[in-house]
Amino acid sequence: MQALYAQLLVGLINGSFYALLSLGLAVIFGMLNIINFAHGALYMMGAFVAYFLLNNDYLSIGYWPALIVAPIVVGIFGMILERTMLQWLTGLDHLYGLLLTFGIALIVQGVFQNYFGSSGLPYAIPDQLKGGMNLGFMFLPVYRGWVVIFSLVVCIATWFLIEKTRLGAYLRAATENPTLVRAFGVNVPRMITLTYGLGVGLAALAGVLSAPINQVRPLMGADLIIVVFAVVVIGGMGSIMGSIITGFALGVIEGLTKYFYPEASNTVVFVLMVLVLLVKPTGLTGRAA
C-alpha cells in the first residue's frame, strides 16, 4: 500500500510536466487554431537556453533567473516564427499548420544536434533544491516537490489570465470574431502573436523545469509531443482547464501503470484516448472540431 502512495505522488509529479506542456498546446490551439508540432522542439530549446545561461563564461546565470529568461527568449523566438510563417496560414486547414510546425521542429532539432551531438549535456539540480525528505512511504527529492507546486501555480495563473481577465476575454473574442474585436480598436494580429509567444514560453518553462531531471538533449521533446497531443485531445481541444486536469490525471494513471504493468506505461495514454473518444466524441470538455 505504501508503494502505491509513492507511485501516486510520483505520477502527480510527471503529470505536472504534461499539464504545463499541454496547457501551452491548448492555448495555441484555442487561440490560433494551430496544432503546434514544434512544441517538443521548443520545450527542448527551453532546456538548452537554461544550460547556456548557466555555462556561459560571461553570463553564468543560475537556475532561478533561467526560469524567467528562458521562456522569454524562446517566446520571442516563437513570436518571430509566428510573424514570419505561421500567420500566413490563418484560415487554412489544421493540416498545414501541423506540417509547417513539424518542419520547424525538424530544423530546430537538426541544428541543435549538429552543434551539441545527440547524447546531451549535464545540468545539475540547483543547490537550494538539492537533497530530499523521507515521507515515511517514500523518499521525495525536494526538487520534485518544487516542480509540482510551481507548475500548479503556473497552470492556475494561465487559466485565470485567459478565462477571468479582460485581456483573456479579448483573446477569446478575437478567435471567435476577429473583425468585431478589431472594430473595438484591438490590434488582433499582435494579440495572436503574443498568445503564440505565451504558449511557446510555457513549453520552454517546462523545459527549464525538466533540465535537472532529464538529460538536456536535442531529441528530448521529440517523443513527448505525441503524448502531450493525446492529453490535449482527451481534455478536449482548446480547453485550458481540460488539458490541465487531464495532464495531472494522466501522470497519475501512468504512475499506476508503471506499478502494475510497466511495459504498457507509454501506451496507456492511447488506451485512455480511445476510451474517452468512444464515450465522448469531442474529448472530456471539448467543442466540436
Partner: protein, 322 residues
C-alpha cells in the same frame, strides 16, 4: 476554413481522358526504368510507398478523413506476409494474400471504432489505435521486437516468376502498383466516389439526400486500409524484412507528408510525393547530420509557397484535374 483540395476544377469526361493519358505515360516511363540507369530498388521502394500514399489519399482527398495511423495497415500486412513466407513457407501469392487479409480484418475493426468521429478526433483515434497496435507488435514474440523479421525468402510467384531476380521483381511490383492505382482511379470516378466527395463537401446535405454517410465512409476506410496493406505486402518482397518502423507513428506522418508534397486529392500527387520523399531519404543520406534540417526546410517551403503540392500546383496552372 478552406477545403484541403482544389475543387474549382471540373471533372469532365475530358478530364478523365487526360488523366488516362497521363497514366499511360507514367506506366510507360516506369516500365522503361530497368533499361535506364536508374536504380531499380529505389524505384521499387518508392512504388510501394506510392501505392500506400494513393490508398491514404483515397481516404483524405476524396473522403475528407485524415487518418494518422495508416502505418498500422502497412506494418500489419508486412508482418503477416513476412510470417507467412518465412515461418509457414507459403508461396509469394499466398503470402501477399495473408498480408492483405490481415490488413482487411484490421481495417474492419479499426474502421468500426473510429468512423463516427469527426475531424481532428478521427485523426487522433486512428493514431491511438495504431499506437496500441505498435505496443502489441512490440510485445508479440513472432515480430522479434526491434530486430524485426529478417531474411524473408522471396520465392517464385505462381511458381513461374523468380522474384530473386531484380528485374522480375521490379515488374511484379510495378504490375501490383499499377493494378492498385487503377482500382483507386476507378473508385474515385465511380458513383461511389462521387458520393464520397459529396460527403466531404457537406455531410449534413448528403445525409438529407438520404445517403447513409457512415456507411460510405466505412467502406472507403476499409478499401483504403486494405490497399495500404497490399502495399505493405509488396514491400516485404522488396526490403526482405518487416520491422517496427513500419508501424511507428512517424511512418504514418511520412505518408501524410508524401501526399501533401505531391498534392492532396489529386490522382497522381501521392505518387510524385512518394518519389520525392523516398528520394530525399535515399540521396540526402550522404549529407549526414544535415538530413533532418534539409527535410524540415523542404516541408516549410512546401507549406509556405506551394500548398497544393507539386501536382496540385501544376493542375491548377493548367486548370486541369490531374
Amino acid at each position: 476554413m478552406t477545403a484541403l483540395t482544389d475543387d474549382t476544377l471540373p471533372v469532365t469526361p475530358r478530364a478523365i481522358r487526360d488523366e488516362m493519358i497521363v497514366f499511360v505515360v507514367m506506366a510507360l516511363l516506369l516500365a522503361s526504368v530497368p533499361f535506364t540507369g536508374v536504380y531499380p530498388f529505389f524505384v521499387m521502394q518508392a512504388l510501394c510507398f506510392a501505392l500506400l500514399a494513393c490508398a491514404f489519399n483515397l481516404l483524405i482527398g476524396y473522403g475528407g478523413l485524415l487518418s494518422f495511423g495508416h502505418a498500422m495497415f502497412l506494418g500489419t500486412a508486412g508482418y503477416c506476409s513476412a510470417h507467412a513466407l518465412k515461418v509457414w513457407a507459403l508461396p509469394p501469392e499466398l503470402g501477399i494474400l495473408v498480408g492483405v487479409a490481415g490488413a482487411f480484418v484490421l481495417s474492419l475493426i479499426t474502421g468500426y471504432i473510429s468512423i463516427r468521429r469527426q475531424g481532428i478526433y478521427f485523426s487522433m483515434i486512428t493514431l491511438a489505435l495504431s499506437q496500441l497496435l505498435y505496443f502489441i507488435y512490440l510485445q508479440a514474440p513472432f515480430t522479434h521486437g526491434e530486430d524485426g523479421i529478417q531474411g524473408i525468402p522471396q520465392g517464385r510467384l505462381f511458381g513461374v516468376f523468380d522474384l530473386t531476380k531484380p528485374t522480375v521483381l521490379y515488374y511484379v511490383v510495378l504490375v501490383g502498383f499499377l493494378a492498385g492505382f487503377l482500382l483507386i482511379f476507378r473508385i474515385i470516378n465511380s458513383p461511389f466516389g462521387e458520393v464520397l466527395k459529396a460527403i466531404r463537401e457537406n455531410e449534413p446535405r448528403a445525409i438529407s439526400l438520404g445517403y447513409r454517410t457512415d456507411h460510405y465512409k466505412f467502406l472507403a476506410f476499409v478499401l483504403s486500409g486494405t490497399l495500404a496493406g497490399f502495399a505493405g505486402s509488396l514491400k516485404v518482397f522488396v526490403a526482405q524484412n518487416a520491422s517496427l518502423t513500419d508501424v511507428h507513428w512517424s511512418m504514418s506522418g511520412e505518408v501524410v507528408l508524401m501526399t501533401l508534397v505531391g498534392g492532396l486529392g489529386t490522382v497522381f500527387g501521392p505518387v510524385v510525393g512518394a518519389f520525392v520523399i523516398i528520394a530525399m531519404q535515399q540521396y540526402l543520406a550522404g549529407f549526414g547530420q544535415w538530413v533532418t534540417v534539409i527535410q524540415g526546410s523542404i516541408f516549410v517551403i512546401c507549406v509556405l509557397t506551394f500548398r497544393r503540392g507539386v501536382i496540385g500546383e501544376i493542375a491548377h496552372y493548367f486548370r486541369r484535374s490531374l
